[in-house]
């Protein structure tokens, strides 16, 4: 059985850098009653990453790091630190996690749906649909993630 291809060390370190600099999410989820569904939304949204790497571990396939997304993630997170703006750190985290999945056709849609777990959705949605923010959050995280997982499965079935 071929060995699993892992992300390069720099990829892992950039992801760790982005995760650490988005740690404000934890306190937001803990102390804001309106944002607590964000943790579940992040777990749902990030499930394609877990599914992909689980499948890689079970049946190793080709893997290419995604330097463009990693570079953007690094830039956003750094600007977020410099400008003291959490939302840039959250975008950086989404891009870093997004770089851990191969470029499937629905990848950009799934990446855009990362807004679902960000506190920014509560701020924005609270103005237009305040009573439905949690529902929108969960749906917007779950549906694109589910479609991406389905397309991964379909893609792997079509590969001989």
């Amino acid at each position: 059985m071929p060995a699993m291809q892992r992300p390069q060390l720099v990829t892992i370190l950039i992801c760790v850098y982005c995760v650490l600099n988005a740690s404000d999410l934890v306190s937001t989820w803990m102390y804001s009653s309106r944002d607590s569904s964000g943790a579940l939304a992040l777990a749902l949204w990030a499930s394609p990453v877990a599914v992909f790497w689980y499948r890689q571990w079970k049946a190793p396939g080709p893997w290419e790091d995604r330097p463009f997304l990693l570079g953007l993630a690094l830039l956003c997170t750094f600007q977020g630190i410099l400008g003291s703006l959490h939302v840039l750190g959250h975008i950086g985290l989404a891009l870093a996690l997004g770089s851990l999945v191969p470029p499937w056709p629905l990848h950009p849609v799934w990446l855009a749906s990362s807004l679902s777990w960000m506190p920014a959705l509560d701020w924005f949605g609270g103005r237009f649909f305040p009573d439905y923010v949690a529902v929108v959050r969960i749906l917007a995280a779950a549906v694109p993630a589910w479609v991406l997982i389905r397309s991964m499965q379909a893609g792997s079935r079509s590969v001989p």
Binding site: I81, S84, L85
Partner: protein, 195 residues
């Protein structure tokens, strides 16, 4: 990933870490905050400091905050001014905070003030109603846009303070749900624009 791309990412990561530390170490010392520029007493008004509660203290941390009760004519109201120069995250969108505290925004309007405009919120929670007015001020220009505040504050940090002064959030709200006339306060209490 090619070796060259990998090197670029390594350099980027090292630069981000190093610059992050350097900026943190050499961030320019903030000038004296303007939040205390509003006098406590004056012709036609009197005020007193109000203590910050525990949750406010943990929220504001290093930010300079003034929380006062003022009486201007027949209006008794609370003034909160927050300077986020030392803790940008202490300044939140007031509308978002009030919604989080269980208030429903029944109406929102903009009205002109010296140097720009402010936002007036009509809030309701059960039988309680209150009006809240707020604006962001850099000392000369005033506005009620949170997005503009974020842009100003972020740009200011990215340029190490060269893009202008830190906007301060100024908020006036009724106390104990007593009705207040915000327009009258803004007209009669010119000291508000010392910030």
């Amino acid at each position: 990933m090619s070796t060259a791309t990998s090197i670029v990412l390594w350099v980027g990561l090292c630069l981000a870490l190093a610059l992050g530390i350097l900026v943190d170490l050499f961030r320019p010392v903030e000038e004296m905050s303007r939040v205390r520029a509003i006098p406590m007493y004056g012709l036609g008004f009197t005020g007193s400091d109000l203590p910050l509660n525990e949750s406010e203290l943990s929220l504001y941390k290093k930010a300079e905050v003034v929380k006062r009760c003022y009486r201007v004519g027949r209006n008794r109201f609370m003034l909160i001014a927050i300077d986020g120069a030392r803790n940008r995250h202490a300044v939140h969108d007031p509308q978002y905070c009030f919604r989080g505290a269980g208030w429903t925004v029944q109406g929102r309007e903009r009205f002109p003030i010296e140097g720009g405009e402010a936002v007036l919120l009509h809030l309701e929670k059960g039988d309680a109603r209150q009006d809240v007015a707020y604006w962001f001020s850099d000392g000369r220009r005033r506005h009620g846009s949170v997005v503009r505040y974020w842009l100003q504050a972020t740009l200011r940090r990215m340029t190490l303070g060269r893009s202008g002064r830190e906007p301060i959030l100024v908020m006036i709200q009724s106390m104990d749900d007593e009705p207040i006339n915000v327009m009258q306060i803004v007209d009669q209490f010119g000291a508000l624009f010392e910030i």
